[in-house]
Symmetry: C2
Subunit: 300 residues, 2 copies
DNA sequence: TGTATCTGTGAGCGAAACTCACAAAAGGAG
DNA sequence: CTCCTTTTGTGAGTTTCGCTCACAGATACA
């Protein structure tokens, strides 16, 4: 089924004319003479079998059909332009496509990104959220993952360690917990649906014991944190994800944070992981994570 | 700010090639030789500064960038094609743009439309929902309105009366109302927010009296009917809007329906109201409304 | 190895599109 | 009302871009 479309160059001339309200200005923008644009519009109207402009004094004005067409064409050209510019950016290594968990993006990466843009105003960062499971590809250049050890061999070899991680239980200050030495009194445990094992690992690592009164499970770490903020219980989270909440006093970490063996890593996921933009991004994020560590020490 | 776009004809060749997975087939679809398409793609890749296809055996396969571009371009061309075909339809009078209330569209027009398409397979009907207030234009060719009498003089003159209307109170069968002669026992009245006056007019016209125990108001007639179906009270609605519900026994009309002075009318709203499609639509809807009347008599 | 199929490319040609110049129409200033 | 400016529309001529044709290189398959 071949497409039924008018000459696309005519559509382009039409859109410029409609947008600028003048054949002359459109011709100026397109780098042509007004006669050329006038002819293109004429050709388009012949194809359509009806006028798209009415005469308004010495100029033109869109009629109803022209207006309808204008909206469609303008939107389509906008879309084409965005997609095309993205391809250009990618071709010249001026953009990097990063995939990471929604939680990391929302709680750390996006708030820190302005610093990256200040350093590299010419580099464009494209973010894709991936759930922890299907974190493979989908066109990303870099995948940021907490658990690179669980990746295939070849990925482990190439993965770039960015920072150590430390987990600990957090809750709202008003949430009544009795912290006695190395024991957390009976609490409602907030767990991530797919990684409930993390609590066990943490207890083994830290020596803390948390008696569980009840358990709430959520499909996203982000929701776990929101639940903790709302005073629903105790969530086990990475330190950096709640740094701001701790500093602002919205959350407390009664047992501090315990380092884990796994670290945050950047896994190259396309050949463009070696592009200038990707390498700038990796350098920046490693430094930024380290700077955060220097500010707020890790309690154990 | 002039647009930054590659040659659009090259995008078209690219999209066809990407879709069909073959330069040869794309050339076939576009009515060109494979050499022409190959050159277009080459030009596009030169513009982009990077390849969009990888060689796969004797054929081609999109690389990551090509795939990203393909999605954008395909979507944009789809949009252009739809918009363009609509302009073509409108130009040759093969489409009609009808504006009416959401309630009429959902409860009567859309269910009856298949009959129109059977009679006029070549005519395309485009529907716009308008709230009763801002029913003026927005590009429609015909506006279907219950209250043409409240329209400006010139519209009244041109309006085409389609059918008489009759209003009456309806409720769910299980809704306990005592219908005694010409009085409806104390009931919960379901009213449309902006036309609560309708109840008064109806009582004056019909001679019925409805004692009101409580009142529920909704912003849409559709919601009023849903409320009545749910057994929340008694709604005052036009007969046709609930014909199916009455027939199926989901609703009852304890007082029957009373004709109103106003009728359903089609108001021409653009010069294309005289197009073959628009006239076919008016003829059809008038007949269809009349046929409905013949089937189900009006009780008073 | 031979054959069929597919893409890429150099040369040449042709149609489409552009430029130029002028005409027509409308608005504004005097 | 008239002149001048601005804007669009169009006929004629020219350029350029894109297409065709033919052939070459590469791959798959028998």
């Amino acid at each position: 089924m071949p497409r039924r479309l008018p000459p696309l160059s005519a559509l382009r001339a039409f859109e410029a004319t409609a947008r600028l309200g003048s054949v002359t200005r459109a011709a100026d923008e397109l780098g042509r003479t007004h006669g050329a644009v006038s002819r293109q519009i004429r050709a388009l109207q012949d194809h359509a079998g009806s006028a798209l402009f009415d005469k308004a004094g010495t100029g033109l004005r869109l009629n109803a059909q022209g207006e309808a067409l204008r909206q469609v064409v303008a939107q389509a050209l906008d879309q084409l332009e965005r997609g095309w510019l993205r391809v250009l950016d990618e071709a010249q290594g001026a953009s990097v496509h990063v995939a990471c968990s929604a939680t990391f993006a929302m709680r750390w990466l996006v708030p820190h990104l302005p610093g990256f843009y200040r350093l590299h105003p010419d580099v464009k960062v494209r973010l894709s959220m991936t759930s922890a499971r299907e974190i493979r590809h989908q066109g990303a250049d870099l995948v940021l993952a907490w658990d690179r050890l669980s990746y295939p061999e070849r990925d482990q070899a190439r993965a770039i360690r960015l920072a150590d991680v430390a987990f600990g239980p957090v809750c709202a200050p008003r949430y009544k917990v009795s912290v006695r030495q190395r024991r957390l009194g009976a609490a409602t445990r907030i767990v991530h649906e797919h990684t409930s094992r993390a609590w066990t690992v943490w207890q083994d690592n830290s020596g803390h014991v948390v008696k569980t009164a009840a358990e709430l499970s959520f499909p996203h770490t982000h929701l776990c944190i929101e639940a903790a903020l709302s005073g629903l219980g105790v969530a086990l989270v990475e330190r950096r994800m709640v740094a701001d909440d701790l500093a602002a006093g919205r959350l407390i970490a009664p047992c501090g944070f315990t380092p884990f063996a796994d670290g945050l890593a950047a896994v190259p996921a396309s050949e463009r992981a070696a592009s200038p933009a990707a390498r700038a991004f990796v350098t920046w994020i490693a430094g930024e994570l380290a700077a955060g560590d220097a500010g707020r020490g890790v309690r154990t």
